[in-house]
Structure formats: structure tokens, C-alpha cells
């Protein structure tokens, strides 16, 4: 997953490149560290004087915000630091429970659900939406788990 952006700051063009594990700013390499063990969560500020850029990665979604607005989606920038820890806990539960119930498929679904919780919280800013999404996702994972057990026992 490689993405490159060119940002003009005070008449000077700067290149920002993201390749999955590192950030390159005008050729200089910066190692990225995810704030979450289960879902990749990265929020790095790259400042060129007055121009403030934010590289935001949630799961497999990558976007660069320049002066408070994302270049890709056009949406206003929301700091990932505003996401509370319990959303990380819910995403972790979805990942590990998915793995316990449905093996690697469950883990993959759990990771996608984790991204969904983060995005839901950033969009709606309400705990209830995330909890409802978590409950529905957990019920679906359990149903899928029972389905897999029935399928395996029937073979």
C-alpha cells in the first residue's frame, strides 16, 4: 500500500509518501508506530511552517489532511487522540473473539469491525452507536461460529 502526496507550502513543493510501515517526507524516512495492537492506528503530524499536514491511518484506510481537511475524502480532520480507550478494547475483543470463534476468518472480520468502531466513533461521536455496532457484530460472529460448527459436524 503506497501513497504519495505533494504539498505546496509557501511556494515549495514537499513530497509525503506512505508505504505501509514508514513515512517519507522529502526523502527522509520516519518509522511509524501504531497506537493500537489490533487495528493499525496512526496519526502523525508533518508541519512545514504554517502548513499543517496529518497522516491518518485507520486499518487499511490512509489519508492526508492538510490544514484540517482530508485530501482524499474532503472531510474535516478529526484527531484520533479523541477516541477513548474503551473503543480500542471493543475492537480488541472483536478481533480475539473472532479468532477464537471462527479462526483466521473471524480475526479478519474482527479487524474490519475494529476499523468500523473507530470510524463510527469519529463520525457520530456517540458511545451508543459504537456499542450497538459491537453488539450486532458480536451476535453475527457467534452465529457464524455456530454455522461453522454445524457445517464441520455435518461433514
Amino acid at each position: 500500500m503506497k501513497k504519495t502526496w505533494t504539498v505546496n507550502a509557501n511556494g515549495v513543493n514537499h513530497t509525503i509518501e506512505y508505504n505501509g510501515w514508514a513515512l517519507f517526507v522529502d526523502g527522509a524516512k520516519y518509522k511509524l508506530k501504531s497506537a493500537n495492537w489490533f487495528v493499525q492506528m496512526i496519526d502523525y503530524a508533518v508541519n512545514f511552517g504554517d502548513v499543517q499536514c496529518r497522516l491518518v491511518v485507520i486499518g487499511n484506510k490512509v489519508d492526508l489532511a492538510v490544514n484540517g481537511r482530508y485530501l482524499g475524502s474532503g472531510q474535516p480532520y478529526e484527531p484520533l487522540a479523541s477516541i477513548p480507550a474503551w473503543v480500542s478494547v471493543l475492537s480488541g475483543i472483536s478481533c480475539v473473539m473472532g479468532f477464537l470463534l471462527n479462526s483466521w476468518l473471524g480475526l479478519a472480520i474482527g479487524c474490519l469491525l475494529g476499523v468500523l468502531y473507530f470510524k463510527t466513533f469519529l463520525k457520530k461521536k456517540r458511545a451508543s452507536s459504537v456499542i450497538i455496532a459491537f453488539v450486532i457484530a458480536t451476535v453475527c460472529q457467534i452465529i457464524l461460529g455456530f454455522g461453522v460448527v454445524i457445517l464441520v459436524s455435518g461433514l
Binding site: 509557501n10 515549495v12 493500537n36 496519526d43 503530524a45 480500542s88 478494547v89 480475539v96 473473539m97
Partner: protein
Amino acid sequence: MEQRFQNDFTGAPYQEPVVINQLERKKDGLAVTSLVFGILGIVFCWCLVLPLLISLCGFIMGIVSLVRTRQHTGLALAGVITSAIGIMLCILFFLLLIFWL
């Protein structure tokens, strides 16, 4: 380097970029994982062996998180407590199974 020469040629001053991790203070992976393992250990305590291992991992992670960082102690403490409850429930279910059989 090529970029810098080009900028020098256009005459605009080159500003060194400042790169900062905005989530530096939120790196509480151990504490979050400890709590996740603790909760799952309690929920799946009836499965005996696997939740016991999960709870033990959660307990160790919680202790390590508490010792290593003085931040996020609430999460780490919650992880240690839930993991301890998970271990106790697993042992209780194990003993019940032995007596029942």
C-alpha cells in the same frame, strides 16, 4: 536532495519538516490487550484450558504494563483484575468438572 536543489533554484526558502506522532501518549497497547484478554477469559471461562492461558497472558501483560509505565494505570489495573477473575473462574470450572466426573 533533488527536491531541495529544485527549491533552491526557485528561490523559495526550504523549511525543514517537523514530524510528530500525535498518539505518542496513547500507546497503551499492553494495558488494552490485558483488559481484552481478561474480559475474554471471564466470558469463555467454561472452555477450561484456552481461557486459562488467555487470562494468564492478560495478567502478565497487565503487571508488565503497570510496572513499565506509570500512565494508563486504570486500564492496566482493570486488565489485571479481570484476568485474575478469569483465572479463578477457570480453576473453579476445572475443579467442578473434576468433582462432577
